[in-house]
């Protein structure tokens, strides 16, 4: 006796969150059944393995049918075939587009191209995430990217509108899209200690302050591309380290203000010029695409690592960065105050976030 056909269709589509997770994680039906058995479901419910198998198959089939709709979430809301309560629809979408930290760290900042897709095998092997799940996550990134890439308006809002994500998820995707578009390097060994959250935080600050959208809300791609003009202007900041007087003045102002307040004062005093050079040079180099990509590498190399090796506490870093950017306003010879603020406010936020073990 073999089951040729075995289906269950409810007027309200049944969604089993547990099975959904297994499906999203890319397990085959038999693996999912084994995992469910291991979770002790048979004991809890008194069901047989055959029942579990049939149930799992059924859910998988439903998810498979829903997948097409999940690719364009508004369709899920307006379709008539599956009657799903709104809270469940939201759950389906949110979970479908959720991603693994390990995975996103592997592809963050990479071009979402066929080439990267070919590397998914390696990523799967490295992270232990099933290839199927990697593909889904990669395709999700790419899909969202494609939809919003040439749109006007806020990136996160666009994503939210077209994919019906929660706030949190929409902002994460905005970061992913932003990183993919600007191809920031995140995979270097020295950046391994950074989490996706760290990058997403930085992305948000950069989108807010450094993109076209920060100055003009009526252009295409406004949140995706960095403001080229702004990057060009950043060259002007070079004077802060090129002009020796200005640099010395800057240093003495910062030291005066921080004397006695900083645990690592002497280290700061000794390193000031190096750090300042580092930060200003990063700005000046941003005219080249290659250097834009290496932004995070540079920040870590030029600022985070030196401070860390001198064991600066985070509080001291904060005090220093505040003072460092504020005192520039007292430099009479420096005329690019607005530019400096636009650069430094964001950078300071990023650096504080990046500064940890």
């Amino acid at each position: 006796m073999t089951s040729e056909l075995d289906i269950f269709v409810g007027n309200t589509t049944l969604i089993d969150e547990e099975v959904y997770r297994l499906w999203l994680d890319g397990y085959s039906v038999s693996d999912a059944v084994a995992l469910r058995v291991r979770a002790g479901i048979l004991e809890q419910t008194g069901a047989t393995a055959a029942v579990l198998q049939s149930d799992t198959m059924d859910h998988y089939r439903t998810f498979h049918m829903l997948e097409r709709l999940l690719h364009a979430p508004p369709k899920l809301l307006h379709q008539l075939v599956f009657q799903i309560p709104p809270s469940r629809q939201a759950l389906l979408i949110e979970r479908y587009y959720a991603f693994d930290e390990a995975f996103v760290r592997e592809v963050l900042g990479k071009k979402l191209s066929k080439g990267t897709k070919k590397d998914l095998d390696d990523i799967s092997a490295k992270t232990g995430i099933t290839l199927k799940s990697c593909r889904r996550q990669f395709d999700n990134f790419k899909r969202v990217f494609k939809v919003v890439e040439e749109m006007r308006g806020s990136l996160a809002d666009n994503i939210q509108q077209h994919f019906l994500f929660s706030d949190r998820l929409a902002r994460d995707y905005a970061a992913i899209v932003f990183f993919a578009n600007n191809r920031f390097e995140t995979a270097k060994k020295k950046l391994q200690y950074l989490s996706f959250g760290d990058f997403a935080f930085c992305a948000e600050l950069m989108i807010q302050n450094w993109t076209l959208g920060a100055v003009d809300s009526q252009v295409d791609d406004m949140d995706m591309d960095l403001d080229k003009e702004f990057l060009q202007d950043l060259k002007e900041l070079k004077v802060l380290v090129a002009d020796k007087d200005l640099l010395d003045l800057h240093k003495s102002l910062v030291c005066t203000a921080l004397r006695g307040k900083l645990g690592v004062f002497s280290e700061m005093e000794a390193n000031f010029k190096n750090l300042s050079r580092g930060l200003v040079n990063v700005a000046a180099k941003l005219t080249h695409n290659k250097d834009v990509r290496d932004l995070f590498v540079d920040l870590v190399e030029k600022f985070v690592e030196p401070c860390r090796s001198d064991h600066w506490p985070l509080g001291d870093v904060r005090l220093f960065l505040n003072q460092y950017s504020v005192t520039v306003h007292s430099l009479d010879g420096f005329r690019h105050q607005a530019l400096w603020d636009r650069y430094m406010d964001t950078l300071r936020g990023c650096l504080l976030r990046l500064y940890h073990d």
Partner: protein
């Protein structure tokens, strides 16, 4: 020109890409009604076209309005080649034809293609202007309301229940016409869908005419079925109960009458007994020749074998009486048409006086090509004959009417089994208009019958019993005789007193049959049938005893015929009726008592059985009040009720009755284990596992003993097909496979729905078919309803007392739920007031209340929620309006089965699509639920080698508007229509 149909095509969305080059579609729409067709403009390059057409107007006869469906076809314009069809929408405009139902059909309909399934949606508005020039001799029956619900619909009152109406129409099946060889599958499917749609329209109109003739205005319990007879044609037949219904306008005023139906004649439902002119003419030659009755209120007709084409010897033999019958029928054609049958399963209070037992009749026919579609006489005669048989069975049980009546067929190649069954009953003569009722009835009518047991009292003469039954005085009133068990096809009457809870029981049976042709095949089948009936009955009885219960409600026995086997599946809800005696245990008797080890084995089994009975009694809370024997004062000598079921050696049907009588003097229920078969049976008895804790199941409207439903419901359909290993199949192996199939299916359901615990599966409806040699298909439709556990745990008794108390004190409270109280079949717990009160008052902290509030219908969702349920009501809600009948037929075919996920993927998607189309139609009518939903047919055929599959599905139900009880206080006037339509129309979003 009595009607003007107006159609407007507004927009489309989610259309498929028809032009690969541009990834877009140039869509336009054809609107067709009858022979008139209109077209919209082509909306270029869009998947979300906005046609916003003018009003297309069709001026048509109301006859056509009833028969024809509105046909909307969406096409992709192609300049150089033929336009490609995207899909179609058929809209039944019948609901617009009577004033009380819907006034407009407006909403998004899925665009359906028989090859590709749903392909986007289209927004349509349909209106009808009816001109009121009423021609006396008209052929239409506009205005007659149809209900699938098998009780008086909730917001109506039955003024008169006229009785049985039936009709059938036949036609050639387009699939088997010569043209089918040259046309595409799509064209063929569409021709079929359209034809069936036309035929059902015609059928409904004809039934409506009959109702008007009877001076009724509605059909309740309308059941329409298709017989796909293959080569020989397509039959659409319907039965129903004609009524005169009154809309309850101010329900509160009506309430008192409801509570005391017997006091005021005018307010009470009346029944027209059909005239009984024909009953004297033949003491049914068929009946005496071949009929026989088995034990226990269970009248079975041995199928009468009649061939349409006379020829073989046996046909000649049996054709005689049939011919005679036919002659009689034509003589008294008028009277013949009226049968005292009612398709209702629940009744207004006081309507049902006594219940005799189940009557059923089957007959095996050989199909022959229908030569003249306009004269469907052969099929008519077949059914007339079966109905006649049912009627005479009922008479033998001392009953003048049959309630809970239904008809069905099973077809395999050219053989067809026609079945009819119902419950013989005596209806209250005080409600009958003319006094020409049989004498047997009058003597049975008591004054002041105590509530809750009257219907159990035997309607037949004690001294002249139609079958051997064991009578006692009623355990409730002690005045009248009752049988020891009662089988019925109806729902549990609302006033019945039940002890504990009920449960679903099933008898399952397979019998192998040799493959044969034509007459030989029919003979083989008709020879097998009585044995199957008998065994099904035995199983039911055994299982009933094992549950410690004494009555079956909602009994439905389905016999399915296949190439090489017959399947029997009986489902019913077992309960313990307080009026009936406590069932005796089951005793096992070995045939060779000398053998020691055998003896031991027997006693072991005996113990197991006794344990199971004890366990079941506990599980279902069956603890009837003890009654000492003296009080009963039974004239029947044996204190314990016994009945005897035979594993009769000579199962010649004629003898069964005699045999039964001769063995009637033993205590308890004896199972004689005389061969391995019997052993198997006992084992299979014990292998039925009860549902996991927190689950109950029944096949009636609701579960006796549970009355605190929450609003959480989930209707579902589950289909399974198994392939039997073909080698050396024996009856036993087959039985086991079938048994496992059903049990596993139930287990899967319990598992799937575990989040709804505590929960009851209601209206569990199993259908078996044998699509191919080695395939068995089981389809189940049911609804799972969560109930409030705290209240459920209260014992019935205290509940009764409480509710009675409350009912007497809280009269004002009751007025808030007047409709529910009037409606007969609602939570058929014996005490409807209890429900209203508990919902409102009991346990303010209760979960039920909480849940009701926490889960309001979601207003912000763009697609309105449409509930579907096979029940006639929606728990925790009140139906405020019936919008019309939903009766839809779909065909889906694929030539890329593997690509669509195999047979499971294909059927899963199709059923989901069918649900979607039903919901869309209901929403377009302005409704938010379908009640009395039923999937009448799900015919699935596959050809994996060719990568093909085809499925036909027929569903029906009543579209309604309901309002949550919790919202009822807030909304004084009904506005859901407006709300719903808003949400439907507003569901448009640019993507």
């Amino acid at each position: 020109m009595p009607g003007k149909l107006k159609v407007k095509i507004v927009a489309g969305r989610h259309l498929p890409v028809m032009d690969r080059a541009s990834d877009l579609t140039d869509a336009f729409v054809e609107v067709k009604f009858g022979n008139t067709t209109f077209k919209t403009d082509v909306y270029l390059k869009s998947l979300n076209p906005q046609w916003n057409s003018e009003w297309f107007k069709f001026e048509v006869d109301d006859e056509d309005l009833q028969d024809e469906p509105l046909q909307i076809t969406v096409l992709d314009h192609d300049t150089y080649s033929a336009n490609d069809a995207i899909g179609k929408v058929y809209i039944d405009i019948d609901p617009l034809l009577y004033s009380e139902a819907a006034t407009v059909i407006s909403g998004w309909f899925p665009i359906y293609d028989t090859i590709h399934g749903i392909r986007g949606e289209i927004n349509v508005v349909v209106k009808v202007d009816l001109f009121n020039d009423l021609n006396r001799f008209r052929q239409s029956s506009c205005g007659v309301k149809f209900f699938c619900t098998t009780s008086i619909p909730k917001c109506y009152r039955a003024v008169i229940i006229h009785g049985f109406v039936e009709e059938l129409v036949v036609n050639e099946d387009p699939e088997y016409q010569w043209i089918d060889r040259i046309r595409t599958p799509r064209a063929s499917n569409e021709a079929r869908q359209r034809l069936i749609s036309l035929m059902s329209g015609e059928l409904q109109r004809k039934i409506g005419l009959k109702v008007l003739e009877m001076r009724g205005n509605a059909v309740v319990g309308y059941l329409q079925c298709f017989d796909l007879e293959g080569e020989s044609g397509l039959v659409v037949r319907a039965i129903g109960t004609a009524c005169t219904l009154d809309k309850l306008s101010s329900p509160a005023a009506f309430l008192p009458a409801c509570n005391s139906p017997s006091k005021e004649m005018k307010e009470s439902p009346l029944a027209h007994p059909p005239s009984h002119g024909c009953r004297s003419t033949h003491n049914s030659p068929i009946h005496t020749a071949t009929g026989s009755r088995l034990t226990q209120n269970f009248s079975v007709s041995v199928p009468t074998l009649i061939y349409t084409g006379m020829g073989s010897g046996s046909a000649g033999k049996e054709g005689g009486p049939f011919k005679a019958l036919l002659r009689q029928q034509t003589q008294s054609a008028l009277e013949q048409r009226e049968f005292p049958f009612f398709t209702l399963t629940a009744f207004p209070p006081g309507f049902l006086v006594h219940v005799g037992g189940v009557v059923s009749a089957r007959s095996v026919k050989l199909l022959d090509r229908i030569h003249n579609p306009d004269e469907p006489e052969t099929r008519d005669a077949w059914w007339a004959e079966i109905r006649q048989e049912i009627k005479s069975h009922a008479k033998a049980l001392g009953c003048h009417a049959v309630v809970g009546y239904s008809e069905s067929t099973s077809i395999c190649e050219e053989v067809c089994i026609l079945s009819a069954s119902g419950t013989a009953a005596v209806l209250n003569p005080r409600f009958l208009q003319d006094g020409t009722v049989e004498g047997c009835l009058e003597q049975r009518i008591e004054e002041n019958l105590p509530a809750g047991c009257g219907f159990c009292h035997i309607p037949y003469d004690e001294l002249n019993m139609p079958f051997p039954a064991h009578l006692t005085y009623c355990y409730n009133c002690r005045k009248q005789k009752v049988p020891d068990v009662l089988f019925t096809t109806i729902d549990l009457p609302t006033d019945a007193t039940v002890v504990g809870k009920g449960c679903l029981i099933q008898a399952r049976l397979c019998r192998l049959k040799k493959k044969a042709q034509a007459e030989a095949n029919a003979t083989a089948i008709s020879n097998l049938l009585p044995f199957m009936e008998y065994e099904v009955h035995t199983q039911l009885m055994n299982k009933l005893k094992l549950k410690g219960m004494n009555a079956l409600f909602g009994l439905r026995i389905q016999i399915t015929v296949g190439e090489n086997m017959l399947m029997g599946l009986a489902s019913a809800t077992a309960v313990y009726l307080a009026a009936l005696p406590m069932p005796g245990g089951i005793q096992i008797a070995g045939k060779t008592p000398s053998d020691g080890s055998y003896e031991q084995h027997i006693s072991h089994m005996q113990k197991k059985i006794s344990d199971t009975i004890a366990k079941n009694k506990e599980l279902y809370e069956i603890n009837p009040p003890e009654i000492s024997e003296e009080i009963i004062g039974s004239p029947i000598p044996e204190p314990k009720q016994r009945s005897r079921l035979l594993r009769s050696q000579s199962e010649s049907s004629d003898e069964v009755t005699e045999l039964d009588l001769s063995h009637g003097k033993k205590d308890a229920f004896v199972l004689e284990i005389d061969d391995t078969d019997a052993m198997e049976d006992v084992h299979s008895l014990l292998t039925d596992v009860p549902p996991p804790s927190g689950f109950y199941s029944c096949n009636t409207e609701i579960m006796p003993g549970i009355n605190n439903w929450t609003s959480e419901i989930q209707m579902f359909t589950s289909v399974r097909v198994i392939r039997l290993s073909s080698l050396n199949l024996t009856n036993q192996a087959l039985n086991k496979n079938f048994n496992d199939l059903c049990e596993n299916l139930l287990k899967s359901l319990y598992f799937k729905l575990r989040s709804m615990i505590p929960c009851c599966l209601c209206h569990v409806n199993f259908t078996v078919s044998l699509p191919e040699d080695e395939l068995i298909q089981v389809t189940v439709t049911a609804v799972a309803i969560t109930f409030d556990k705290n209240q459920a745990l209260q014992t019935t008794k205290t509940h009764i007392e409480k509710s009675l108390q409350r009912a007497s004190t809280d009269n004002e409270e009751l007025l808030q739920f007047p409709l529910e109280l009037c409606s007969d079949s609602l939570p058929s717990h014996p005490f409807p007031p209890a429900k209203a009160v508990t919902v409102e008052k009991a346990s303010p902290m209760g979960e039920g209340n909480f849940r009701n509030r926490s889960a309001p219908p979601c207003a912000n969702s763009t697609v309105g929620v449409v509930k579907m349920t096979p029940l006639s009501f929606i728990p925790g809600a009140k139906i405020t309006k019936y919008l019309g009948i939903i009766n839809m037929f779909f065909i889906r075919e694929t030539t890329s089965l593997r690509e669509e996920g195999g047979v499971s993927g294909f059927l899963h998607a199709f059923i989901a699509e069918v649900f979607a189309m039903v919901r869309a139609h209901v929403a377009a009518l302005g409704g938010n639920a379908v009640v009395s939903y039923i999937m009448k047919q799900c015919v699935f055929m596959e050809n994996p080698n060719k990568n093909q599959a085809q499925c036909l599905i027929n569903v029906s139900g009543d579209a309604v508007i309901f309002v949550r009880e919790s919202e009822l206080e807030v909304i004084s006037t009904q506005q859901p229509t407006a709300n719903c339509q808003q949400s439907c129309a507003g569901g448009e979003v640019t993507t």
